[in-house]
Symmetry: C2
Subunit: 333 residues, 2 copies
Amino acid sequence: MPELRKDPVLGRWVIISTERAKRPKDFKSSPEKKTVSPEACPFCPGNESATPPEIFAYRESNSKANSSGWTLRVIPNKFPALLIEGDINRRGEGIYDRMNGIGAHEVIIETSDHSMDLADLEINLFRNVIYAYQERMLDLKKDQRLRYVMIFKNFGAVAGASLEHTHSQLIATPVIPKRVIEEMDGARRYFEYRERCIFCDIVVQETKNRKRLISENNSFICICPFAPRFPFETWILPRNHISNFEDATKEELDDLASILKDCLLRLKKALNTPPYNYIIHTTPVTLKGIEFYHYHLEIIPVLTHIAGFEWGTGFYINPTGPEESASYLRNII
Amino acid sequence: MPELRKDPVLGRWVIISTERAKRPKDFKSSPEKKTVSPEACPFCPGNESATPPEIFAYRESNSKANSSGWTLRVIPNKFPALLIEGDINRRGEGIYDRMNGIGAHEVIIETSDHSMDLADLEINLFRNVIYAYQERMLDLKKDQRLRYVMIFKNFGAVAGASLEHTHSQLIATPVIPKRVIEEMDGARRYFEYRERCIFCDIVVQETKNRKRLISENNSFICICPFAPRFPFETWILPRNHISNFEDATKEELDDLASILKDCLLRLKKALNTPPYNYIIHTTPVTLKGIEFYHYHLEIIPVLTHIAGFEWGTGFYINPTGPEESASYLRNII
C-alpha cells in the first residue's frame, strides 16, 4: 500500500510509492567526467583575470588579490541573475507587478584544484568553504536593500552546474523568497500551537527513534526527512536552536563542515557520484533570534525527473522511503 | 537590467534574466526517437492483455472491451502511485502525519497508432482525448473519498514519460494538492479586493495588449504568462468565466482541442519537438461554480534544469522573457 506523508513544516504531502519501489542500485549514476583543461577554466589559478575581480579570498599572505596563491575565492557571477547596482523601482503594468533585478549573485570557488570535488576536499579546506559562506552572509546583511541571502550548490550538469570546477553560489534577493515565507509560516503555526520550535521537535524525535538518522556529531544530526520529495533526500539540522546561519559559532561551523563532508561522501559512495543540489535554509538576514525557526541544510540528489503531477500538485511521488534511504546511507562506512 | 516579475495568482517572483538571455535557437531539442516496436508496446492494439482491464474506451461498436478496434483507451496505471481500494486511515507518528495512499491513477492512451505524437493527431481524435479527460473526471467525482482530480501529460523521457506510446495521466487524490490551495487562496484574495476573477482580468489584459498573446479562438486564448517560470511556458485560458473543467460544454471542449493542438504544433516547430508537461488546473471536484477561480491549462516545455536556487526560493530564473517567447510562437505559421 503506498503511503501519503505530510511534511510537518510545509504541509506538503508526498506519496511514498510501493508499487514503484526503487532500491539504491536502481539509481546508480555515472559520474560526470571533467572535460575542461585547467588552462581553459576561468576558475583555475592563473586565470583570475577571466572572472570579475574577487570579493573575498583565502590566500597566501604574500599573494595579491586576483592573482594565484589562493585556496578559496569569492567572485561576482560573470552572468549575474541579479545586479548589485541600481534602484529597485517597484512598478505596475495593469494587474501585474515588477521591479528591477537588484541583488547579489556571487560564486564561491571552493578550491584551486580543478580535479577535486567538494566531498573529497581536505577537511581544513572544506571548513574554509563553510566559513566563507558565513563571511559573505555577514557582509551582505549590511545592504539595506537585500532581504534574503541564499547559499546553494549545484553539482553536475543536470543539477544545473554550468562550470565543472567545483563551486557554490550565493544569491541575495530584494524580496523574501516564497519558499522561505512558507517555511516560516508553517513553523510559526506550529509554535503558536505547541510553544516549541518544530525543527527542535524534529531533532528530538529523529534522535530518539533513529530509523531515519544517518549520522550525528556534537552540534548536528543528519537525517532522511519523514516526508522526502526525492530518493535519498537528506537534511542536516543543528541540535541546538539557532535561527540564523550567520550566528553559528566557529565550533558549530566546524561541526557542520565535518557532517556535511561525511554526508556527501556517503551519497557519493551509495549512488556513484550523483548530481545534487544543496541549499542552506536560514532566517532572513533582516530578522534575528527567531524562536520558531531553525536554520538547516537540505541536500537533494538528482535521480528522478519532475513531471506533470509534481508541477500541478506541489506534491511528489517518491519511489524510495526515507527509512530505507537512511538505513543504506547509515551503513556505508 | 534583469527584471523581477510577480505571478499575480501565486505571488511567486521570477527573474527574467537579461545577462543570460537565451533565444529560441539556443534551446533546440533533438526529438526523442521511438525505439520500442508496436509488438512490444503494452499500449498498442493486440496487446490489451498487457494492461489492467480498460475503464473507458472509444472503440468500434462491434468490438469487445480489451480487444483491438479502439481509437482511445483509458486503463488503470499498472504501477499506480495511489490505489483505489482501501481506507484512508489517517494516523500520526509523534509530530508527523500519514495516511494510506488511496486514490486513482489512470492512463489515457490517446491513440492506437504507436508512431503518432499527440500534436499530430487528426483533430477528431484529438477532441476525443479532451472528451475522455472530462468523462473520467465526471466519473471519479462520484467517489466521496477523492478531493481532487488532476489531468496531466508528460511527453518525452526527461519530462517524466516512462513509455513512448503517446498518453496522458490522471491522478485523483484524497487531499487537495498544495499548489491548488495556493492558487485558490491567491485568486480568493484578489477577488476579495477587486470583486473580479483574476483569471478573467488576465484574459482582458492579455487580449487587449496582445504582446504575450499567441493565438485565440471563440472560447480560449493562448498566452505566455507575464511571470513565466520557464522559457516558452504557455497557458491556455477560457475567455468566459468557468471554474470547473468538467462543466465545460462540448463546444468549449472542441475549441480547447483546437487551440491546444495548435499550441503543441507551434512548440514542436519552434523548439524541434521539445519534451513537455501540461496540466489542467481546475477547481476541486467537491466545489462548483466558484466565482473567483477559473480553470486553465499550463504547458511547460522542458528546456532548462531546476537547480539549488529554484529549490531554495520557489522562485525561478528564466532566460527568455514571455514577450519574446510569445512573439516567436505567434509568428510561426
